[in-house]
């Protein structure tokens, strides 16, 4: 269905890794390392650390290949999941920010978009045709930006609030609403 992706059998490669075939891991590396490094680099904003993360991810892929469960998701997705969470743990562990305790009920009241309707997209996000693009399109640009800053840039709530100049509680409420909307839309 997807025309720009060569046919590559990720599951077969993982199975081969589980059997100890190192060449299979190398093929996965050839296939995805640039994209994984791109994802990690964007999250941690440090090329040496990003390479450490991709290194650790491939070791995890190798040692975890036997326990990969395809009923839980795609093999390719699993590789990105491992890489992203290694990167997220790295940046959250390094973060020195104070977590302010927001009153969630109060945050709900702050979810208004009043004053934010003029915000335009900060991301070139129409990269992936399919359901998610349609659903993202249903969100207001400012809320879409919050989702991208979090998922792609790895920004915390506080960093997003600073970045876009909105109150923290508002950002939290927007993200919560956006996730609910995406879940209902994508299914």
């Amino acid at each position: 269905m997807s025309l720009h992706e060569p046919l590559f059998d990720y599951e077969a490669a993982l199975d081969a890794c589980a059997r100890g075939e190192r060449r299979a891991l190398e093929r996965l590396y050839e296939q995805e390392s640039a994209r994984l490094l791109g994802v990690a680099q964007r999250l941690v904003r440090d090329s040496a650390l990003a390479q450490d993360i991709v290194h650790d991810a491939f070791i995890k892929i190798w040692t975890g290949a036997a326990s990969f469960d395809k009923s839980r998701g795609s093999a390719r997705g699993w590789m990105f999941t491992i890489t992203r969470h290694l990167a997220l743990n790295a940046i959250r562990n390094n973060a020195r920010e104070v977590q302010s305790e927001d009153d969630e009920d109060h945050a709900e009241a702050q979810a208004t978009l009043e004053g934010w309707n003029e915000t335009v997209d900060s991301f070139d996000w129409r990269v992936n045709p399919g359901r998610i693009e349609f659903c993202l399109d249903q969100l207001e640009p400012v809320r879409r930006n919050c989702v991208f800053h979090a998922y792609v840039d790895g920004y915390s709530h506080q960093e997003i609030a600073q970045k876009i100049g909105a109150p923290l509680g508002t950002v939290k409420a927007w993200i919560k609403r956006s996730l609910n909307a995406l879940r209902e839309c994508i299914g």
């Binding site: 590396y29 390479q51 070791i59 040692t63 992203r84 998610i132 998922y151």
Partner: protein, 241 residues
């Protein structure tokens, strides 16, 4: 909180999973989620669903071609992963090769089982390291089936490495014989797949090269007190330094 549209009982779980995957949880919350995941299938399923939903967004990050040294580094780490295992195998092989009965038996499967056996031994309680070790292999294909360990000269432990098939009307009998003994002595019947503790207080102390074997006998054991059936597994004691 009261009028959030689409609020369902499982919403908090989905929100937690969504923010975990999105990346907006604090480090403490991330640790908490990762601690809960193996025990909570519902949370795991919610996280899995979010991973798949948001996966297309990974395409928004510009790919970065890694330097060639990154793969070389990964390969070195893979080598290092294997190194401790191979070190044990080398140690085993060094004494292994000194004994004629063991010659040429260092197959990978055997080696892997030895590592498993050794791991079992070192992990079992906090007993001192065994002073004698015997790997019992099948005489035909040399497949290892049992490990014997002795932490002192008064008791040995027989530990299965796999489940041995025994016909219903037969039993495995455990025997030992020192170099200067007149014949093998029975150490009793063995249940396939089960460990056995055997006191050696009626026997002379364990000695290097002491023979151990399991033979197939009638269900009540050998009627004459000496092995009568075919040898299933055999090995000799090696002193562990």
């Amino acid at each position: 909180m009261s009028n959030t549209s689409g609020t369902e009982p499982q919403t908090p779980l989905n929100e937690l999973a969504g923010e975990y995957v999105l990346g907006t949880l604090s480090v403490q919350q991330r640790i908490e989620v990762e601690r809960r995941l193996p025990h909570e299938p519902a949370l795991q399923a919610a996280v899995d669903a979010w991973e798949e939903r948001l996966l297309p967004l990974t395409a928004m990050a510009e790919p970065q071609t890694p330097p060639p040294r990154l793969w070389a580094r990964i390969e070195r780490s893979l080598d290092d992963l294997l190194a401790p295992q191979q070190a044990v195998i080398r140690d085993v092989q060094s004494w292994w090769n000194n004994l004629s009965i063991w010659r040429g038996l260092a197959g990978a499967g055997l080696a892997a089982s030895l590592v498993l056996g050794m791991t079992l031994l070192t992990q079992s309680r906090s007993t001192p390291a065994p002073s004698y070790l015997v790997v019992l292999v099948a005489p035909q294909d040399k497949a290892p089936g049992w490990v014997v360990q002795a932490s002192n000269s008064q008791e040995i432990q027989l530990i299965p490495l796999s489940v041995t098939e025994v016909p219903a009307d037969k039993a495995l009998e455990f025997w030992t014989k020192g170099d200067d003994w007149h014949g093998p002595v029975s150490l009793g019947l063995v249940k396939p797949g089960q460990s056995l503790h055997v006191p050696l207080d009626k026997l002379p102390p364990l000695q290097p090269n002491q023979l151990f074997e399991l033979t197939l006998e009638q269900a009540t054991g050998s009627p004459i007190g000496k092995p009568t059936g075919p040898i299933q597994f055999i090995g000799r004691a090696v002193k562990v330094i």
